[in-house]
């Protein structure tokens, strides 16, 4: 199928959003957030792919050989590492929430009043 990876990216995004809405505590929500992030990685890398082309590394191939797009790979690779650090920041927010409010279920937490 010619557009199958794009549909897989849409599926990953949709199932991640379903997981966020159905989650019963904030830690499960963060796991579903990582699924949503992986949807963007799959979409970006699928856009840059060329059939019968190699990796954009020319240490063993001559320069003219067909290669996939390096720009999207550069975007995705920094994104993965920084995304993990931001996930750790979200987890530490959840730990603080537990200390202040005693619970981490989204259904029982009401917005601050007064």
């Amino acid at each position: 199928m010619t557009h199958f990876p794009y549909f897989v990216a849409v599926w990953l995004f949709a199932i991640g959003v379903v997981g966020i809405v159905r989650s019963r505590d904030y830690v499960q929500l963060i796991a579903c957030l990582t699924v949503i992030q992986s949807a963007t990685y799959v979409l970006l890398l699928a856009i840059g792919y060329k059939v019968h082309a190699g990796a954009p590394i020319f240490s063993d191939h001559p320069v003219g050989s067909p290669a996939v797009d390096p720009v999207v790979q550069a975007l995705v690779l920094t994104d993965i590492v920084v995304g993990a650090a931001v996930t750790a920041l979200l987890l530490s927010l959840v730990i603080q929430l537990r200390k202040r409010r005693g619970t981490i279920a989204p259904d029982t937490l009401q917005p601050m009043s007064d």
Partner: protein, 93 residues
Amino acid sequence: MSYLINALLLLLILTSTSVVLTRTPRRQGLAMAANGCVLSALFMTLQAPDVAFSEIVVGTVALPLFFYTALSGLRTGPRSDPEAAPLKDHNPS
């Protein structure tokens, strides 16, 4: 090689759905690690070795580790009253 890419994409659908639908936190961390493995295999077949490097270590080791450590920290931390005084220093000096 399109059979390999399509097979890995189907496997990716399975593993990411399992991350979302798992209810026990202990199993969800392992599902995240499996998702990271499949993602990095997919990135290798899409001719992106640099991205596969990052995804192997981050998705399989770092993210489940942060997940499990946060879960363990949630269980050992004290539950505080919202109107109580702020937490004191716990390090023995």
